[in-house]
Structure formats: C-alpha cells, structure tokens
C-alpha cells in the first residue's frame, strides 16, 4: 500500500538534556534569549586553518576565475569597505591586496555542527537561524552572563573562533544586541534599558528593516527607532499595509513574541528550490536548459529525501544587464495534476514554463527552480505501471549517488554543467547545507516502504 498523504506538520523528536545550565534565583524575568553570532565565520575558519592568513585581509568567495561574490570578509578587510555579498571585482577594487580563498561549505557546516553540540550542552532550546547565527532560550532562573561567558570560552578553546552574543527578553532584541559589539562582543539589553538603547539607533539597525524600508520610513520623517516608536500605527498602515505596519510598530519598541523554533521540531516546508547564478550572462539556450535540468534534479533529490511530492513548479529567471540596477527578474509557475518527485519531470514542467515566457533576446544571469504545493507521501497515480517503473529507476539513481557521491550518475546534458565529484569542493550550496543541518538526516529512497497494492 502506498503511504497515505499527510499534510506537513510539526513533529517532536527527542530533546537532548542540557548539561551546563546554570540555575540561579528566579529574578522574576521572563525567558531569556541569546543570539550567538560567529564573527566573520568563514574567513575566521580559513584563518584558523592557515596561520599565514592571520592578520591579513581575507575574502572567502566562489571560484575567483568565475563571476562570484564575497561570501565572507575577515575583519582586516572590512575597514576597506568590503562586505559580504559584494561582487568580487568590486571588493578587489576596494582592497587589491586581499587574499582570496575559495570557500568550502562542507568545512563550515561541519564546524557549525560542532558548535551546535556546544550550545546544546547549555540548553536544548536552540534555533539554527543561519549557518553562523543561533538563538538560544534560557529559563528565567538562568544566569545569562555566566552562560554566555562559558559559551564564548568553549568556542574559543575548542575551535579558536570568536563570537558576539546578544542577550535580551526576546529574539529581535537579542539579535540587535549581538550586532552592537563586534567582534567578540557581549551585550545584554535588559527590559528597563530597551527604550534608552533603542531611541537613537537608526531604524536599519533593527533586524527585519532593510534599506528600502528605511528609505520609505525616512520619507515619513522616521529615522530612528525612537521616532518609529512614536509614529502612529495608522500612519504606518497607510504606507506599509497591515502586516508590515504591525511589525514596524513592534520593532520601534523592541517587542517580539516569536518563540524559538527548536532544532528538534521539523519546520513546515512549503516549497523546496535551488538557484544558480551563471558564471557569465548567456544567450545559449542549450546551456540554460542544462542548468535548468541540473537544478531540477537537485530539487527532485531533496524532495525525495524528505518524502515529499509537489505539483507546482516555479521558475525564476534573472536577466542580465549592464548595471546591477538594470537586472530584471521574473517568476512564473505551473501547477500540474500529477505529483512530481522525479527531477526529469520537474525539468519538463520548467521547460514548458520557459517556452511560454521566452527569453526575448535577453541574456540570462540567474536561474531558479522550486517545487511547491507539497504533500508528504506519494499519491497513487492512474498509470500504475509507468509510475512503478519510474519509481524504481529514480530509486536506483539515488542509490548510486548515495553510495558514490552526488552526481555520480547523471544525464549527458547535466554532465556538461556539473563539476565532477570533488574531494575538497562541496557541490552543496551553503543555504542547502544549512537546511540539511536543521532537518533530519537524509534518507535513502530504498529505505521507503513501498509495495504495490
């Protein structure tokens, strides 16, 4: 019998026991939140690996021979204006003597997992926010300064790395606190201090308020969080709408009720996808299709690992331009009747979307494929024999890739755009690696219960 489809829901796994939790007098506070932010994470790890990089401006990036961006800059590079996400060419104009190191996501993910084991010694309430940021929740009786100090010491002794820790009564303020002192900072915003701390801070200092929102707030005469707190919510509603105005109003006073999304709780997954920025803008339709197929296969692999199928394929294309401002993206989707799990089927739907959209003579810079309308388990389709044959073929392909490494088996058109199995370079994009850290371990397809009725 095929497994009955079930909507995705939160599932409780076993909670680890915290070993070092300091218990003091109940101060009457609510729960305490820590945000641990690793300082220049990737660059610091590379400087630990290679002592000759210490004290030098280091830029961790993709392949320097291709179009790439700065994934991380060491603190020695930052005074030159280099930031994460900056195109590498621009970064080298600002800091020509920077040392370039090609990043290794698997190295950083493995380090992050070791750090998580440290954090779990102090509390089981841990939320992996990103590869270098983790929220921790402590009970009201805990001594946050003692715990934060112990965490910093453990990280320094075990990994040789530093972090900034923010402490506050909610996640938003904890993240803000961590950003106020870098590197190697420790900032506690107590409830009675929040108003004083926030009043003169620029609005973009608050997590969740970016450049565009800050510009729109400035048009309203709001530049600081204090001014945001005093701005009537109705005025914010007129400009930003319902959800955003509520968020901004809360942000102005540093209020945030979002709970920890603990690592042992499976998140509700709405879609899975992969993006890829091409090494150079291209008009080559064959190349574009090969990349689309590769991305579709990656989506299919993850979908099967998590035991999902989906019915909506979403295609995103960013067209190239002479300047960053002239880039133009479109996203189109197509929902089909059948439940998709095979990368080839996802690719075929993506091609249908591409056919409808057309490139209109414009070069392509970035492609993205995702699958939505997800359901757990497999729907029994009408054409049973075809389905069984496809399922076995896909299972066999997964078994080969599980045994010999990703992309050990692939179609000829994908071979053209995939690097071969590499000892050092990981094919796993960093964001996908973080997602894998958060969720359960990947399962092989052959482990699934499957028997035709």
């Amino acid at each position: 019998m095929l497994s009955e489809p079930t909507p995705p829901k939160q599932r409780q796994l076993r909670r680890p026991e915290a070993k070092h939790l300091a218990v003091g007098k109940d101060s009457g506070r609510g729960n305490i939140f820590l945000l641990v932010d690793m300082n220049a994470f990737f660059a610091s790890i590379e400087q630990q690996c290679n002592p000759f990089l210490q004290g030098k401006p280091v830029l961790v990036c993709g392949d320097p021979k291709m179009r790439t961006v700065v994934a991380a800059a060491s603190y020695e590079a930052r005074p030159y204006g280099v930031e994460s996400g900056m195109p590498l060419q621009r970064a080298l104009q600002l800091c020509p003597h920077a040392v370039l190191v090609e990043g290794n996501p698997a190295k950083y993910v493995d380090t992050a997992k070791r750090l998580h084991r440290i954090f779990l010694e102090f509390t089981p309430q841990m939320e992996v926010f990103s590869i270098d940021e983790v929220f921790l929740q402590l009970p009201p009786s805990a001594d946050p300064l003692e715990i934060a100090g112990a965490i910093k010491r453990r990280i320094r002794e075990q990994e040789g790395l530093t972090c900034s820790i923010g402490i506050a009564g909610n996640k938003m303020l904890a993240k803000l606190a961590a950003s106020l002192q870098k590197p190697d900072g420790l900032v506690w915003i107590k409830p009675e201090q929040a108003e004083e701390v926030l009043k003169d801070l620029p609005v973009e200092k608050m997590p969740g308020i970016g450049e565009k929102t800050a510009a729109r707030l400035e048009a309203l005469g709001v530049r600081t969080l204090g001014e945001l707190a005093r701005c009537p919510e109705e005025r914010l509603f007129q400009v930003f709408g319902d959800c955003m105005s509520q968020f901004l109003h809360q942000a102005g006073v540093g209020r945030d009720g979002t709970p920890i999304s603990a690592f042992y709780q499976e998140p509700i997954i709405k879609s899975m996808g992969h993006n890829y920025t091409l090494p150079s803008d291209t008009y080559d339709l064959t190349l574009i299709k090969s990349h689309l197929h590769r991305l579709s296969e990656m989506v299919g692999r993850r979908i099967r690992e998590e035991n999902f199928t989906g019915r909506t394929v979403r295609l995103t294309i960013t067209f190239g331009g002479k300047t960053y401002q002239s880039l133009h993206s479109i996203t189109r989707h197509l929902t089909v009747d059948e439940s998709l799990f095979d990368g080839l089927d996802i690719y075929r739907v993506a091609l249908r979307i591409l056919g409808r959209v057309g490139l209109n003579g414009k070069p392509v810079r970035m492609l993205g494929v995702s699958l939505a309308s997800l359901r757990k388990g497999i729907y029994k389709p009408c054409l049973w024999e075809d389905f069984e044959k496809k399922w076995r073929l896909v299972a066999a392909k997964d078994a080969v890739n599980n045994k010999f490494g990703e992309w050990s088996l692939m179609t000829a058109d994908v071979l053209a755009v995939v690097r071969g199995p590499s000892r050092r370079k990981s094919d796993l994009p960093i964001r996908a690696a973080v997602r894998n850290m958060k969720g359960p371990a990947p399962k092989t397809l052959l482990g699934r219960r499957f028997s035709p009725s």
Partner: protein, 86 residues
Amino acid sequence: MSSVYQEFDEAIAVEAVFYRGQIRPRRFQWGNQARKVARITYRWKERKGEATVYFFALLTEDRTALEICFNDKTLEWRLVRCWQEG
C-alpha cells in the same frame, strides 16, 4: 595578490595515530620529501557517498601550511592543497 592555495590531488603516505576516536597525522611523504607535522591547525569531515573523508589542515616543521585528507572507505591519504606564500 600573489599568495594562493595550489590545488593537488595526489596520494601520499602518512604515518598517523588513531586513538580514542581521533586521527592524528604525524608524518607524511610527499614526493621524495618526508615532512613532519608540527601542528594540526584545523580538522573537519565531509561525506562522499558512503565514505567519510577526514580533512586536516596542517603546519609542518618546515613552516608549510597544507591540507590532507583520509578516506575511510578506500583507506587512502591524499594531499589536497598547499599554501604558496607570495
């Protein structure tokens, strides 16, 4: 910039200690040269199919920074990359 990592993919002979779940390379032969490990500066691991590959960033006694790896399925040690100071 003139300081770079030079990539390799060469099998090397390594003398290592396996003790209490840890691997500690002590010495290795690269080409005709034997080198002694002064310090393991970093370690991490990666999955390659069924294999776990253990990576070590090393500083040798002659002040060379490099990375080597050990594949627990093939039981092979390989030189990954070497730092070339410009």
